[in-house]
């Protein structure tokens, strides 16, 4: 077995040098890490699992990569090896991303982007890598299905001053402020996306389209008391029937509050705060405005 392992590692190295990532991964995956004959130490096992997963991810093969990352998950919890742990985290985030579990991926990317050390073992952590992780966190959050949890993550990212330096910041700002995104902005954002983030979903809509339509629908709910589906379709850039279908699904999934009048072909948006609360807020706003004026009068010596 010893010779077989050496042989496999050598071959894998050659495949890797020729960028034949999956073949290299398959070569390494032939190593029996759980053999009863030879006892391998935990760090070696973990390093092999992570290495195989990374090779599969080079070809965006999330399914095989996940298998090895799952294996690694039993080893990583008590591994003292920081570099391997970090590589494990990066692989896990990328697998979630490839599997379109965008919100979970965003949280993992964001976690990675907050690493403070610049030197882990013999591996140097450069700013670009951290910025890339942060940008990936923003992209995945924007692509995630609209809803309360996504809003919380968006708020975190928007308030993180490092984000203001990212190229994607203008989109993050608009999405956070729940503003309607227009087609040119969406197209510019799409250029930054990876292939799997633009893949078609079963109902013939891309991930990006669905995220943008749902986002714009929620933004419209902040601007309109009610709107006809015809106008809503124009606003969202889709057919009125499709607009109604997406709106009804979001209401059904409790990700947007409202009601649909199919006879009039109109949707009525409801605020998620009670009438009385709204009234209270207006009074609070009024008093706040009055206070502001009094403050500025004081500061001007009036």
């Amino acid at each position: 077995e010893e010779q077989v392992i050496v042989l496999r590692e050598k071959l894998a190295e050659m495949y890797e040098s020729e960028h034949q990532w999956s073949k290299a991964a398959q070569m390494l995956s032939g190593i029996d890490l759980d053999s009863g004959i030879r006892v391998l130490d935990e760090t070696y096992k973990l390093s092999k699992c992570v290495q195989i997963a990374r090779l599969y991810l080079e070809d965006d093969d999330a399914v095989n990569a996940e298998a090895f990352i799952n294996k690694a998950s039993f080893l990583v919890s008590n591994s003292p090896h920081e570099v391997l742990n970090l590589q494990y985290k990066v692989c896990y985030a990328r697998i979630l991303d490839l599997k379109r579990k965008f919100l979970e991926a965003a949280l993992r990317y964001y976690d990675i982007s907050q690493i403070e050390k610049r030197q882990i073992g013999d591996e140097e952590i450069n700013e670009d890598a951290l910025e890339q992780a942060l940008s990936a966190a923003v992209t995945c959050t924007i692509l995630a299905a609209a809803g309360p949890q996504r809003s919380r993550v968006l708020a975190n990212l928007y308030k993180d001053e490092r984000c203001s330096k990212l190229k994607i910041y203008p989109i993050l700002q608009k999405v956070y402020l729940e503003r309607i995104l227009r087609k040119p902005e969406i197209d510019a954002f799409a250029e930054e996306l990876k292939a799997h983030q633009k893949a078609l979903l079963p109902d013939n809509v891309t991930v990006l389209d669905r995220a943008m339509i749902e986002h714009n629908l929620l933004s419209a709910s902040k601007l309109y008391t009610n709107i006809s589906f015809e106008e809503l379709g124009t606003l969202l850039g889709i057919a009125p029937q499709k607009a109604e279908k997406i709106a009804s699904r979001m209401i059904y999934e409790d990700r947007m509050r409202g009601s649909i009048d199919q006879v009039e072909a109109v949707i009525h948006f409801e605020d998620d705060t009670e009438e009385l609360q709204l009234w209270d807020q207006q009074i609070v706003g009024l008093c706040q405005a009055l206070n502001d004026i009094l403050d500025s009068m004081t500061s001007k010596g009036v």
Partner: protein, 220 residues
């Protein structure tokens, strides 16, 4: 940061510039000020001495334009276009934004038809896009669009420069508000007293009933 805070620095900047400029360059300043995306108030610049001096010169139309942006609307411009300089697209947008603010001064519910007529747009989509992108997202108004009733409900609108004579209205409105609030507080006080009295009476009545019940029990 609200619109007033944002534009304070911009106003200071233009006022300082106006203080050291000649008439010819003041025209360029007026153009720049009335095109600035974050500036919606012009009375400070208007009251600058050098701007006053434009009166009666060949640059007086710049001063008239500044006064229009301080107090006027898009319709005002159209009815005086002959004696005012042609506007750039940024200035046109600005004047239409200011028109919405003026309309919001007198009404909280602005009908689409009136808005479309006042800011010269031909369809609902164009009107709503203007209200969304150029007004609500810029932060000068907050409110809700209602397509069924074809109206825009204003919740907040930034203040424009006060036209001469508007101050008295303002003082009157404030006085009314104070009076209303006093009445309201007094009414609340009265209601509290009333509630107390009622609860006292209720307790007393309840006790009487219980006493009588006790008597009846004893006698039985």
């Amino acid at each position: 940061m609200d619109i007033e805070q944002r534009q304070t620095e911009i106003i200071d900047h233009f006022v300082k510039q106006a203080e050291v400029m000649e008439a010819a360059s003041l025209s360029a300043l007026v153009l720049e000020a009335t095109s600035h995306p974050s500036l919606f108030a012009f009375s400070e610049i208007l009251s600058s001495p050098n701007v006053h001096k434009l009166e009666g010169t060949r640059y007086s139309s710049s001063r008239d334009l500044l006064r229009l942006f301080a107090y006027g609307t898009w319709n005002d411009y159209r009815s005086n276009a002959g004696c005012l300089p042609a506007l750039l697209p940024d200035q046109v947008r600005k004047l239409k934004q200011l028109t919405v603010l003026t309309l919001a001064e007198t009404n909280k519910v602005l009908p689409y038809d009136q808005l479309m007529q006042e800011i010269d747009v031909s369809n609902v989509r164009e009107l709503e896009d203007f209200l969304i992108n150029e007004c609500m997202y810029v932060g000068i108004v907050r409110g809700k669009l209602d397509q069924l009733r074809r109206c825009f409900e204003v919740q907040f609108a930034a203040g424009r420069d006060l036209r001469p004579g508007q101050l008295n209205n303002m003082i009157q409105t404030l006085a009314n508000w104070v009076c209303t609030s006093d009445n309201l507080l007094q009414t609340i006080q009265e209601k509290i007293k009333w509630a107390d009295a009622m609860s006292e009476a209720y307790k007393k009545h309840r006790k009487e009933i219980e006493d009588r019940a006790e008597d009846v029990k004893k006698s039985l």
